[in-house]
Symmetry: C2
């Protein structure tokens, strides 16, 4: 007589009993390992079918040490860019018979740390992380130390040796900005969601997100190539919503030498930025030129269509997941994979208005 109740679900023992074989044989037949005669296999299958038996994957995992699931940690699935990345990951995972445990951290480091812990506790076979911070990465290194493979995607961290799949977006950004310069722009502003740790921004300053860092580098390189001054006031951060974007834009337009071109760090910023411009009655590209550093379908639709840097987001997800599976299958770590975004030229870039220098 059992002292404790089971879960009430059908187990392999029930199947074995009905099939008239030992538990071990039934397990072998169901699991497809070891050797079992065709006749027994038939009987077991039949019994399993009849009882509606489904193996308990948890119990299996505890024995095999493999959970057949991947942990994915990302800041914001709501951002269409990450939506697509997630889709790429999920497709590869499904193809491998794995499923995906998704943790959305809202770009909070504390939540990211918690999420990683939870995922490790659940013994995921590997982790895909898009880190919130370049520098606060203790929890990520812990994972590697624990022996479970990790692949970083989209963003870098400040130590090397980990697998990572990234966009080579510095170069594409440089190209896009070169396009602005070629059109005659000298005052080019950059607007990002990233919240700066420091009060103001200084060129060359370390930024805590590699993706933002790359973008800024690309812009600066383009400017320096043409001997154009890098003006810190044209690098604006903390553009987290419509209101802050509008505020930032308003301040920059009041500058003695306002920007003639605006570079939006991603599609969300671009959306708010374009709405703000529209609200102010500014016309693109007549009054101001615009470039967005992440393409989205609607960029083609607005008037004028927006010049953008198109990132292969789905591919990023696919490659990251593929790299992780290679690690799970025993491959060496430390590999870096770089994907190449491309500039898609549309109609939002034109010549700057001849701006008049304020006297004094």
């Amino acid at each position: 007589m059992a002292r404790r109740q089971g879960t009430g679900e059908v187990t392999i023992s029930d199947v074995a009993r009905l099939a008239g074989v030992s538990k071990a044989q039934a397990a072998r037949a169901m699991g497809g390992y070891g050797s079992v005669s065709n006749e027994v296999k038939q009987r077991v299958m039949q019994a399993a079918q009849e009882l509606g038996y489904r193996p308990n994957a948890l119990a299996r995992s505890i024995n095999t040490g493999k959970s057949q699931s991947l942990g994915v940690v990302v800041g914001d699935v709501e951002n269409p860019y990450f939506g697509l990345v997630t889709r790429g990951i999920s497709d590869v995972a499904r193809r491998h018979g794995y499923d995906v445990v998704l943790a959305n951290t809202g770009e909070s480091l504390a939540d990211e740390e918690k999420a990683v812990k939870m995922l490790l506790d659940k013994r995921v076979d590997g982790l895909l992380i898009c880190p919130t911070s370049r520098t606060s990465h203790g929890h990520i290194l812990d994972v590697e130390r624990s022996g479970r493979p990790v692949v970083l995607f989209d963003r870098d961290i400040s130590v090397s040796g980990l697998d990572m799949v990234q966009m080579r977006i510095a170069e594409a950004t440089r190209e896009a900005v070169q396009g602005l310069i070629d059109a005659g722009h000298r005052r080019i502003a950059y607007i990002s969601t990233l919240k700066l740790a420091t009060d103001g921004f200084a060129p060359g300053q370390d930024l805590d997100l590699s993706t933002v860092s790359q973008r800024v580098d690309g812009i600066c390189r383009a400017l320096e190539d043409s001997q154009i001054e890098v003006d810190p006031v044209l690098f604006q951060f903390g553009a987290s919503d419509r209101q802050s974007v509008d505020g930032i834009l308003g301040e920059m337009l009041e500058l003695a030498e306002p920007p003639t071109a605006l570079v939006a760090s991603d599609s969300l910023v671009a959306l708010d930025l374009l709405l703000s411009l529209k609200g102010r009655g500014l016309r693109i590209p007549h009054d101001v030129s615009v470039v967005m550093l992440d393409d989205q379908p609607w960029a083609e639709l607005v008037e004028p269509p927006v010049t953008a840097v198109r990132q292969p987001a789905y591919d990023l997800g696919e490659q990251a997941a593929t790299a992780l599976f290679e690690r799970i299958d025993g491959a060496e770590g430390g590999r870096e994979i770089w994907l190449t975004p491309h500039v898609v030229t549309r109609g939002s870039v034109g010549q700057p208005l001849g701006q008049v220098r304020q006297p004094g």
Copy 2:
């Protein structure tokens, strides 16, 4: 001497040994159940810390019967609507200390069935499903029968008794179409991604997606209220990509009595539709009016801004997850929750061009 090697990870036994207490006491201290003296708790915590011990959630789950994770089955996370829903679900889950196993099925019934099986095998504590089909739902009923709670979201199935959270979009659609009628439209077309099982569409026909069914109902009701003929040729399906949308639009414009207003079933269709209109040089709302049955931020940005039905997608996710947790906590099932979308009037609806009837 152990015959089999463990996973190599630190277990509660190791912690117990180092702390100099029994395995049970260590487990109690770590798990926070049963009674343990403060002194032992201290020693155990200390030992766990030192060894870097992390409990194996799988082993715990197998005992408790609770996995602390939710399964989410959805057709397409890439669709921003579902992206937001997922975010809502994920936030509630995290608040409850659960994590989310996400299965993206690409709207394939076979994949949906497989996904549900996998999730059940992994003993998720509950499932949130956005079903691909109203009628092929055996796998969903199986879940309920297995005793694990399910909440359907966004879409209905053809049997009652299950928990479900849905948009009351028939009514909002009726309102939006009423707006078109009020503006003078009589030829109103509807374009949906749904692939029809039958060859053509007949008014009153059963559709396999409740969300599409509701939209069609809303349109028909508005038309009937104004004694306008419901013309099957104005209901077009299978608009899965830009090309097919363009083809559908082309055919409809060649009709003897072409539509003067277009209703896009969701934001993806709307995007393709607007691009197609733009490509053809048709102007909104002068040449044709447009309404989209799912609002997205860019709808406000395009020229003219697009009148849309705004669905509280994040709320849908939140409510669905909340309902599921209530079921997990023992609440009765069979509840239906309805959310109310609203028409957001913008500039894409105008008076129809006086169209000339073809003679003969």
